[in-house]
Amino acid sequence: MSNQDEWMKKVLAGVQAGPADLRVKSEARRRALAAFGDDRPEPAQHATVQAWMLISTVTVAVALVVLAVDALLVHEPKPGVSGNPQLLAEMERLFPRQLDAVIRDGDKVDVELFESPRDTAVDQRILVTLYDKGRKIEVFTYSGHEVCLERAGAHLCFTPLLTGDGAVLVVTDGSVMKSPNGAVLAGFQWSAQSLPEVPS
């Protein structure tokens, strides 16, 4: 084991949950065994919480679909005008200071969020577009933010950086590329550009 691994183990030893509450454990056992085949009814409160969580999940899913359709149909960029910051702006309004990236792959939209709000107001908005045959993936994010994608078995992490002259560099583990020099990013052709501010 390397010194760095030993350091990690030593440091991380402090990250552990306190002792389990016996009532909590007992309730967890009861519910797990109920799920195993016992027909005992769940407490009403649990059902309410589950229903509420389901409603929240459905609401967020519907909101994302509506936004995706809205972005695709209503705000489709005009030919020749590249970069549509509208989707990013919509998500910024939904998740103020929590948005890390919006990834649009066809009609599917993924949203990456920070766990706690951060000041991203000073970070320049960036659009990175990945192309593979007929497929196009758009990543709306900010300069200096790392984005990781897992698509159809391919895994790709990169950090776009806006340079002083307005170009966008894409930094991956061990390489720095500048658009549009035709370099390939994990099998994808790509382009990147900074996005203008969207008037609110």
Binding site: R29, A32, L33, F36
Partner: protein, 184 residues
């Protein structure tokens, strides 16, 4: 000779009993792994109550899916995969709920904020927790598997359901971030 109740039955045997519908087989698996899964969950979600919830939901899902578990699949790896998924689901829900709760809190003009009163952390622990919070959930998952569960990167990849290189990359990023935050 050992008394019968002192013999440690293998996971495979307990799983087989549980698959046949014997509840005590599943209960033994619960007792064997509940605390380990709870600790693993805590290292991803970093909240005590959330770790309890994730552990509970993990075993509920495991109970429902156990009949479909393919023979030869290691129960513990499978259980960790479920726990990873449950923890990710929890964090996703938490993101949207936190924004709503904060808005409601502001509308009400303040009030008592929910807090983690259990196990109030020391300054050093607070610093460590903040550093862990700076990692992405997937990086925390990789760290938990490699440094707490002592998995190889290959085994961690199986449990997390991703490529080995992905685990290596996440561990690298986590180390870099923690070094930066904890040694400065």
């Amino acid at each position: 000779m050992f008394p019968l109740d002192e013999i440690q039955l293998s996971d495979a045997l307990l799983v087989e009993r549980a698959r046949r519908g014997e509840k005590d087989g599943f209960e033994s698996l619960f007792d064997r792994y509940y605390e380990r899964i709870r600790q693993y969950a805590y290292r991803i979600v970093l909240e005590h109550h959330a770790a309890d919830d994730v552990a509970q939901e993990t075993f509920i899902r495991a109970a429902r899916k156990l009949p479909g578990l393919e023979q030869g699949v290691a129960f513990l790896s499978w259980l960790f995969t479920i726990a990873s998924n449950v923890a990710r689901d929890y964090l996703r829900r938490q993101q949207s709920q936190r924004a709503k709760a904060f808005a409601a809190y502001q509308e009400q003009g303040g009030g008592e904020r929910p807090s983690e009163s259990q196990c109030a952390p020391t300054n050093q622990q607070t610093r460590l927790l903040r550093a862990m919070q700076a990692l992405s959930p997937s990086q925390r998952e990789a760290v938990a598997l490699v440094y707490f569960e002592n998995c190889s990167h290959g085994e961690a990849a199986k449990r997390a359901g991703c490529a080995e290189s992905t685990i290596s990359w996440r561990v690298f990023l986590a180390k870099r971030t923690l070094k930066k935050l904890l040694t400065s």
